[in-house]
């Protein structure tokens, strides 16, 4: 039993505080340690960064003409990061042209506002990404899965 807890119990036994107050004090003592332990748990899980982005496509053709098709692509996250850095090399003129083309399509998006740090953050957040698409119609069934591992 630690020193603080002992003091609280002693104050309770001496009648300086009531049971509710003692309970609140003990709870307040436990909070930081609980926070630390939860930080440790999330830290150990959070540090396991995914290494690959995987795209799987399963297409089953019920008509029997083409047969099933499977696509399995594994891209290292490092390649995505390097690709993002490549985007940072695009000259300003090209960015302005791309912006104009995007605006012409009615999309309010400014490419010049994207900073390499934002893109890095975006790549980091991809670890939680999981996209499942199931499409079924009369002749075919397609499953698309995008996830990080």
């Amino acid at each position: 039993m630690n020193e603080h807890r002992r003091q609280i119990l002693q104050m309770l036994s001496e009648g300086k505080i009531n049971a509710d107050e003692a309970e609140r004090l003990i709870a307040a003592l436990e909070e930081p340690s609980a926070g630390k332990s939860s930080d440790n748990v999330s830290g150990s899980e959070g540090k396991a960064r995914p290494k690959y982005l995987r795209v799987q496509v399963d297409s089953e053709d019920d008509g029997g003409r083409d047969g099933p098709t499977k696509v399995n692509v594994r891209v290292p996250m490092q390649l995505l990061r390097a690709g993002v850095k490549l985007a940072g090399l695009i000259p300003a003129q090209a960015l302005h042209r791309a912006n104009d083309a995007i605006h012409e399509q009615g999309i309010p998006f400014d490419l010049t506002q994207i900073k390499p740090e934002n893109l890095e953050e975006l790549i980091d957040q991809l670890s939680d990404l999981s996209v499942d698409v199931d499409q079924k119609d009369q002749e075919s069934k397609v499953k698309v899965k995008v996830f990080c591992e």
Partner: protein, 86 residues
């Protein structure tokens, strides 16, 4: 580490698989003198664009290094292709 080998697997209709090992290290060794010879042109091109040539080289190197462990596989009833970079 830059990729050293790429394995290309091709499967035909008769379900025979042809596996080709491509020694990328030889390709890199061949490309190094070519890049060195063309480097003045690359620098001029970068200044005209304008792109920082050193940054461009750094990014290209990072992309090259990140290519390892890339895998692409397409399977169909009649044929299949798989490319793995190690």
């Amino acid at each position: 580490m830059i990729p050293f080998v790429a394995v290309v697997s091709l499967r035909g209709r008769e379900s025979r698989t042809l596996r080709i090992w491509v020694p990328l290290i030889l390709l890199w060794l061949l490309l190094v003198p070519v890049v060195l010879v063309l480097s003045p042109l690359i620098f001029i091109g970068c200044f005209l664009c304008p792109v920082n040539p050193f940054r461009a080289f750094s990014v290209a190197w990072q992309i090259l290094r990140a290519l390892s462990d890339t895998e692409c596989e397409i399977e169909h009833r009649s044929a299949g292709v798989s490319i793995c970079v190690f």
